[in-house]
Amino acid sequence: MIKSGMRINNAESQKIRIKNKNKIMNYFVNEKGYFGDFGGAYIPEMLYPNVEELRTKYLEIIADEGFQKEFHQLLKDYVGRPSPLYLAKRLSEKYGANIFLKREDLNHTGAHKINNTIGQILVAERLGKKRIIAETGAGQHGVATATVCALRGLECVVYMGEIDIARQAPNVARMKMLGATVVSATSGSKTLKDATNEAMRDWINNPIDTHYIIGSVVGPHPYPDMVATFQSIISEETKKQLIEQTGNDQPDYVLACVGGGSNAMGMFYHFLNDENVKLIAIEAAGKGVDSGHSAATTALGKEGVLHGSRSILMQTEDGQVIEPYSVSAGLDYPGVGPQHAHLFKTLRAQYVSATDNEALQAGLLLTQLEGIIPAIESAHALAYLEKMKFTGKENVVICLSGRGDKDMDTYMKYFGL
């Protein structure tokens, strides 16, 4: 029974709902640099001046009309955007849904990573930086960084895990040809996490003239927000393309793979407040979530701090980071960006995983049905189609984050080509 004094009229209750809704529905960063419980800037004092400079200036720099003009011009004429939204007919027939591929693989340098490096190199220039450092896993971000450095004439140093250098040889050669110095990270698991540690150490030791172009939506605030902003071009274009092609900018499902989470964040960004659009993030299960050789962070992780932000990460009870495993170098990371941790915790997006085998099979399937060889990272997103149930009417958008050229060695070995 409601006591009369407690009754509230409709208008008031509506207001409260809107207020609550806004509270629950804020998927974006707050003024303290947090997404809900996640984010922040957990960095040693040595990094504080650089990160603080970026934090106080990035919004203004990005909002500036001159910046926007230059950014969009480069995305159009240099990267080749907008990237197509392609209705994959034979894949659609196989699964019984309308499957659209957002073709980030057609970008210059072959992946979504360049959207972010174009944005950050323009920021670095406006901060007066002369030297660029980056970490890379698959080498796609390293190549994208080396590319924009060549484009703008800036010195470039890329840190890459020793194991990744071996399994992504073509990208190492590309970076070198582009004039970058590739430094092998030999600590820990010798993959993306360790390359990130080395890049952070470099930044600590070069506090004045260097900008660190982080390659995913990870790192201390403002990186996760800044990188997501640059990658949000993916969903911005997708919405327009969906209207043209289906008359409705809201698909039923949006899928993307998650390493650190930048292609997924860009793919989800403009759908976050469209409650009817189901967002599905696919992590790398490696040899199986419970096999002890996995990178399925949300399934295996707990809240903690890595690389400057509070998020979800794979760790021991003692708080030591567990070394991840995935066949795909770009997904071989023990954490996810803080915005993903927030989307996971608030249930706004569903987090699932695909194994090495599932991803490689999905890569072959796309190649043979559509004539597109996907990056093994992107193939993880495709693999999840096997587990979905469709009625035939659903519109599904998948971020095809990159092309498979760099992975030919792995495909060849796996399929005995």
């Binding site: 960095i43 004092e45 001046p49 708080g319």
Partner: protein, 255 residues
């Protein structure tokens, strides 16, 4: 008065030694502390190892990895330190990264520190704002000192703020660097140390990162209340003669 404040009241040219718990052998933690006190160290910083020590150079990365591989954890460290105060009387700080501390639980960590007689800690990747909002209360309750770092790039207002939150000493980095490099006192460094002196901070200062020889130690003492030696000490530890290698190293500094 806590041990740290007392030390700074009574002594000048304070020599602080950093080493990693559980290195070179898992069980060496307390034996090294005892030997260091006997050999004349004034203050100890015991590192609890972390898998991803971004502020550390190769030497401390390696000692951390070795300790972790041997099975060191925060829980084990507190067990090892259970009887610390029966044999060690100089002040002791724990130094490490925020994630192991978070998993142990902040309040729990502070309680364990107080129980074994640890006087404070240094957590380089714990931001000041987070410390104030979420940690300070627990630190105060257990009378623990939190040590903040300052680099040549730290702005004066921020140094003042750090001074106001500190109760012990302020850790001055000779330059923005990861651990284990050699201190080069250039004109710029001297200007920076003088700038700090001119701020008339309420807390004493210690210089660290890159102090590796008697010469650099003496130089640092000209500008601060003392200095901290880490990598140079850790590098000299011998697994098969821990106490001998500690003694040998300390001879240079406290003949």
């Amino acid at each position: 008065m806590n041990r740290i404040n007392k030390l700074f009241q009574e002594k000048k040219n304070i020599l602080s030694i950093y080493y990693t718990a559980g290195y070179p052998n898992l069980g060496d933690t307390v034996a090294i502390a005892e030997e260091l006190e006997r050999s004349g160290a004034d203050l100890l910083e015991i590192g609890f190892p972390y898998s991803d020590p971004v502020a550390d150079g190769p030497v401390i990365q390696a000692s951390s990895k070795s300790a972790l591989d041997a099975g060191m954890t925060l829980k084990l460290l507190f067990e090892q330190l259970k009887d610390l105060r029966k044999t060690v009387s100089i002040p002791v700080l724990l130094m490490g990264y925020v994630n192991p501390l978070l998993q142990y639980g902040v309040a729990n960590f502070c309680k364990s520190c107080a129980e074994v007689g640890v006087d404070g800690c240094i957590v380089p990747d714990l931001p000041m704002a987070e410390y104030e909002e979420f940690y300070e209360k627990d630190f105060k309750q257990y009378d623990l000192t939190n040590i903040f770092l300052v680099t040549p790039q730290t702005a004066p207002e921020r140094i003042q703020k750090i001074d106001s939150l500190s109760n012990g000493f302020i850790y001055l980095l000779s330059s923005s660097a990861t651990t284990g490099q050699n201190l080069q006192v250039s004109e710029g460094t001297e200007a920076y140390f003088s700038r700090i002196a001119a701020l008339k901070l309420k807390n004493p200062t210690m210089i660290g990162f890159g102090i590796s020889s008697k010469e650099t130690f003496d130089k640092a003492c000209q500008y601060a209340n003392g200095a901290i030696i880490g990598s140079a000490f850790v590098k000299n530890l011998k697994a098969d003669d821990v106490s001998g290698s500690v003694k040998e190293f300390m001879k240079t500094f406290k003949p």
